[in-house]
């Protein structure tokens, strides 16, 4: 899966003419995706929430729609659920177009942000609600409710009132209530938002494990990049209704295609520069910053055309940079950049120490030093000290966007 920067750019493998693929599955492309969003636009008045979106969600995978508020992620989810209708375009569920099909006739279930448990029903009645709508009652209902509660580790909680339970337990009830219906796709709308940090971390791992166990496709909406990185097989980064990049956690972190993604996922140092040498076969280019620093790095977006004279951004991750005292003898090898600077601030974070270093050639750089046992921070480095910041060439990510 590769990136798309502009609307309408191809993001799933296969020709653009593959549009009827959802209706007539094409063996060469593989099995029908669980959900296929084809050129979907959603407008609310003059605001475009989702802009010509194309996305194929493969079966059994954990997808995250990631982006800041207002990026269109929740709107996308609500269109799949059936609470909103696309202004343009078509959504296919299991290969069937679902325009005009009401939410209650779609084989899709949602875990809502604030759980939306029915206050007038106990846990078992809540979980069995979907079954009862499909005329599954009595012993069969009880059996499947018990099974679902067991799955979310709430066995024996049948008769509890939901409002007497903790946030984490309510969360599990909401999950069981959705999963008991065995939907094609489970939609989750920031379900961990209301939980405290520690519980959230636990639930993230649990959700991922649960998803593997039941094998149902999950589509998870979040604004928390860490959450998305922890759980997802595929992350779809969105901004202003457009997909910015799509890929696995490693790919997104190691090879962000534009400044927004590099900034939104993790922390990055950015240096504005101009291309001075065209890309070689490995798509490495040489660039020069306004302050005369020459860097080499790989263009992250395979589809971008980069010419000499183009303005690009070079991103680097703080943990890929190293800070050493200015007087320390540091060998300069091939492919190593090193520049002088002065420490502005050093923040001890426990497992690591974060330095803000002001440099002549690259402005302020953030450097993260992994703290080894016993020693806190890089030796001999404190605020006001002259230092050298150094990094390997492969830390340079050349963003064409």
């Amino acid at each position: 899966m590769t990136a798309s920067l502009s609307p309408g750019t191809e993001i799933y493998p296969g020709p653009v003419s593959a549009r009827p693929r959802a209706v007539v599955p094409d063996g060469a492309i593989g099995p029908t995706p669980d959900v296929e969003i084809v050129d979907v636009t959603k407008r609310f008045g003059t605001v475009t929430a989702v802009d010509r979106m194309r996305l194929a969600i493969a079966h059994g995978e954990f997808y995250s729609l990631l982006g800041p508020s207002g990026c269109g992620k929740t709107t996308t989810l609500r269109m799949i659920a059936g609470f909103e209708q696309p202004t343009e375009g078509e959504i296919f569920l299991d290969g069937q177009p679902i325009a005009g099909v009401p939410p209650y006739q779609r084989n899709v279930n949602t875990v809502f942000q604030h759980y939306a448990l029915f206050p007038h029903m106990d846990v078992a009645q809540n979980v069995g609600y979907g079954l009862r709508q499909r005329k599954i009652r009595g012993t069969e209902e009880r059996r499947r409710v018990a099974e679902a509660l067991e799955l979310v580790r709430l066995g024996g909680y049948d008769k509890r009132r939901t409002w007497e339970m903790s946030g984490g337990q309510q969360q599990r009830v909401a999950l069981a209530r959705a999963l008991v219906n065995r939907p094609t796709v489970l939609l989750l709308d920031e379900p961990l938002g209301a939980l405290d940090m520690k519980l959230r971390k636990e639930m993230q791992l649990e959700l991922k494990a649960l998803q593997r166990e039941v094998g149902i496709t999950f589509v998870y909406v979040t604004h928390d990049q860490e959450e998305a990185l922890t759980m997802s097989d595929v992350i779809v980064v969105m901004r202003d209704g457009l997909i910015q990049q799509m890929g696995g956690p490693t790919e997104l972190y190691e090879r962000p295609v534009n400044r927004f993604v590099a900034d939104f996922i993790g922390t990055s140092n950015f240096i504005e520069a101009t291309v001075v040498e065209p890309p070689d076969e490995g798509r490495h280019v040489a660039v020069r910053s306004a302050r005369g620093l020459t860097l080499r790095g790989r263009v992250t977006d395979d589809e971008a055309t980069v010419r000499v004279g183009d303005t690009v951004t070079v991103a680097s991750r703080p943990e890929r940079l190293e800070v050493v005292p200015a007087d320390a003898a540091a060998p300069v090898g091939a492919g190593i950049t090193q520049i002088n600077g002065r420490v502005q601030q050093g923040t001890y974070l426990g497992d690591q120490t974060e330095y803000r270093v002001l440099t002549e050639e690259a402005g302020e750089l953030i450097v993260r030093h992994q703290n080894a046992a016993g020693a806190g921070g890089a030796p001999g480095v404190g605020p006001g000290d002259p230092v050298i910041v150094r990094w390997q060439r492969d830390a340079n990510l050349v963003l064409a966007g």
């Binding site: 659920a81 059936g82 609470f83 009401p102 939410p103 209650y104 006739q105 899709v108 279930n109 949602t110 809502f112 942000q113 604030h114 939306a116 448990l117 029915f118 206050p119 007038h120 029903m121 106990d122 609600y129 979907g130 709508q133 499909r134 009132r161 409002w163 209530r177 959705a178 219906n181």
Partner: protein, 300 residues
Amino acid sequence: MATLSEAAPVRSGQPRRSFSSALLTGLLLLPASLWYLILLVVPLAIVLVMSFGRASRIGGYEPGFTLENYGQAFERSTPFITSLVLATSGTILCLLAALPLAYFIATRGGRRKSLLIVLLIVPFWTSFLIRTYAWLTLLGPDGLAGFIGDVVGDSGFRILGTPVAVLIGVVYGYLPLMVFPIYVTMERMDRTLIEASKDLGAGRWATFRQVTLPITLPGLITGSILVFIPLMGEYVIPAILGYGRVFLVGNQLVLQFLEARNWPEGAARAVVLILIMLISVVFYLWFASRGRRTREISVL
């Protein structure tokens, strides 16, 4: 040690109440208590005592002890039954009219919600009597009755003076009392519950029946009681729109206290009326809360 023993009562959920706070509570409750004592408890006691007395020759009240008045009240019980029928049917009609109205304002009102609520209140700025008299014209020979008469070709068609006219007046007059509590519960209801229900496979009607209705039940109960109780004592609307042909407990009480001046018999009827209301409300509350095991979301 000191901090431990200080904290203990708080932890057990029994904060110590100082004398001054108890005094303050008492002072704050005093005006309301006096109000209820002088204007409710004392008059009720007087009515109760009077109901066992005798009417003097010139009317009014003469001390004594007899159950004759209650015997009279039960012997001529038709007005009670008429009142019960009117109150029950009026309450049901109000409920049927208020439910969709409240639902519409709460769910589809949007930005016009406040305007719609104000529109509902506006008629109340005019005197109740004037509004009821206005219905005389609306339902009269120059109004609806005349129109229907023309259509069906019956020049003698009348609405005024019939139970239908009384019911129309009753629903008109009492509807807001029903709409407001229902509207409040529907307004406060978490709208994502409806989405959750649809998401789980329930259609519109199934969602209304299984989610909206049970959750707004406290509002329905409150509204029904607010309409039912005053309806039991209603006599103005029947007197005007029913031409007095619909004879209710209220009419009978007025008759006995003000015209026949038989205070003890009137008092006995008043006591019976209060008992009927109490029993109905208790029964209704019991019936409505039967099988409900959830947190009470009371409106009152």
